[in-house]
């Protein structure tokens, strides 16, 4: 077999504040978008099950929080992103959205939190952070004095996910409970110097916690003492794919619109407001759609494999072996004619394997949905 040699200059990679902790735990480290990140700490599949069945924690400090301070924030964000920040009126409420270019193509996907008038916080992907900042900075020129955009590289981010994640977090940090126990999904609050959001990328309950970098290791160790096990980017990928959540750069990028990426629900076309990309989205009907696939034959679906359907060819954007379902699943971009229930063929090496088009998510809150 051919094994890609892992030979890179470690000094060139960026490190999160928890990097020494991962190394001490014996994690297998990989280059992820220029960051030296843990792929797994022994077994990716065990880490996956740990999150589905109990509680796991991820270092997601490579993602970037960006604060929008000043009274001009709401007006600016209303025109910047495809979802509508006017849906955010209750302090703490969060919104998932795409950031589009003029052609309606996806620059990034993000979450924006409304904490109070004068403070919105956005969290963007690691690999796209620099590109996002320069795009946003360009749009902000001329936005007036009432807007200050501050990247928060001083913050670390830990995601605690799983059916027991919140209970174990409160055990580790009892002082946060009063403030966070009534948070609904996609709501955030501040407690004990931390920004605590009931969000995640696994399809399980839990929190994403932002805190000063110097405090990250202490929180990590406290969570570990309460039985929260570390999980790497490998498990994060299989969990998010089972949960039917898109990965930027794989399931969508600057060549497709949100409508071609299963993200129509995140685009607000109904309000009269204008936003970057709106005119382009109004003009063309999508020719492709993102669907779920379950492999019927034996094998493993992978990104870029060709999919053959009665309405034409498509391509897998993300594919993996699903540890929860014990079979292979995928997201695929297919012609709009393909329908749920259709049997399609996927080219895997020299074979054409049978797969079925399904509605996704595949798994939510520990339960199989397909």
């Amino acid at each position: 077999m051919e094994l890609r040699p892992f030979c890179f200059l470690e000094a060139m990679l960026k490190q999160t504040p928890l990097n020494p902790v991962h190394r001490a735990l014996g994690a297998k480290m990989v280059d992820f978008g220029g960051w030296d990140m843990p792929l797994h700490y022994g077994s990716q599949i065990e880490e996956h099950h740990q999150v589905r069945r109990d509680a796991g924690m991820f270092d997601v400090s490579h993602m970037l929080a960006v604060d929008f301070l000043g009274e001009g924030g709401r007006t600016f964000l209303r025109g910047l992103i495809a979802n509508n920040v006017d849906k955010l009126s209750l302090p703490g409420k969060a919104l998932y959205s795409c950031l589009l270019d003029e052609a309606g193509h996806v620059i990034d996907d993000l979450i924006v939190y409304f904490m109070r008038e004068g403070w919105f916080r956005m969290v963007v992907n690691a690999g796209t952070a620099d590109k996002d900042l320069s795009w946003i900075g360009g749009r902000a020129r001329g936005a007036g004095k009432d807007l200050e955009i501050t990247p928060r590289r001083d913050l670390a981010m830990i995601a605690v996910q799983g059916p027991n994640a919140r209970a174990k977090f409160w055990q580790a940090m009892p002082g946060t409970r009063t403030v966070t126990q009534n948070l609904k999904v996609f709501q955030a609050a501040e407690a004990e110097g931390m920004f605590i959001a009931r969000t995640g990328y696994t399809g399980e309950d839990g929190f994403e916690i932002m805190l000063p970098a110097a405090k990250a290791e202490e929180l990590w160790n406290r969570l570990a003492a309460c039985g929260v096990k570390p999980a790497g980017l490998g498990a994060r990928d299989t969990l998010r794919l089972e949960a039917g959540m898109n990965l930027y750069g794989q399931d969508m990028d600057e060549t497709v619109t949100p409508f071609e990426s299963g993200l129509a629900w995140t685009v607000d076309m109904n309000s009269p407001r204008d936003f970057v990309g709106k005119a382009a989205l109004q003009q063309k009907l999508p020719a492709r759609q993102l669907v779920g696939l379950v492999l019927v034959d034996r094998g493993v679906l992978r990104s870029h494999q060709k999919v053959i359907t009665p309405s034409g060819e498509g391509e897998i954007t993300s594919g993996t072996f699903s540890p929860t379902l014990n079979r292979s699943i995928a997201l695929a971009r297919l012609p709009v004619g393909a329908k749920v229930g259709d049997e399609v063929k996927v080219e895997v090496r020299d074979k054409r394997l049978a797969a079925r088009v399904v509605k996704y998510p595949f798994v939510r809150n520990g339960k199989a949905l397909v």
Partner: protein, 129 residues
């Protein structure tokens, strides 16, 4: 690192064991399974297929990626380990016990041309730097 002295190895991370009946068992090394991670799928060659040395003949897939497995020596496939189909993780748990297929070698002397444990170890170490 686990590299049993009694086995032969390839540059492409397969191991080969000459059995008492003259057949050659083939699997992938501890180093290979460690780099690939949790195994989820194994596709073995058809019994009866005649393989040339270094011919692509099987596939192992981990959660991370698919990798081709090559025949260490020329020969005919006389058996495949069907147990791995339902339990590919055995390759992670016991890489030198989890043989994938057995060959009747075209020329048993070909095994002498493979890497020794010491040579394979040297190669693995050179790849890591």
């Amino acid at each position: 690192m686990s590299i049993p002295a009694e086995l032969k190895y390839t540059k492409t991370h397969e191991w080969a064991r000459l059995e008492g009946d003259g057949l050659v068992s083939v699997g992938i090394t501890h180093h290979a399974q460690e780099l690939l991670g949790d195994m989820v799928f194994v596709e073995n060659p058809q019994v009866g297929r005649k393989l040339g040395a270094n011919e692509e003949c099987a596939v192992v897939e981990s959660v991370k990626a698919a990798s081709d497995v090559y025949a260490p020596v020329a020969g005919e496939v006389v058996a495949v380990n069907g147990e791995l189909e339902g339990a590919p993780q055995k390759i992670n748990e016991d890489p030198y016990g989890a043989w994938m297929f057995r060959l009747k070698p075209a020329n048993p002397a070909d095994l002498q041309g493979l890497l020794t444990a010491a040579q394979y170890q040297e190669q693995v170490e050179s790849e890591e730097h």
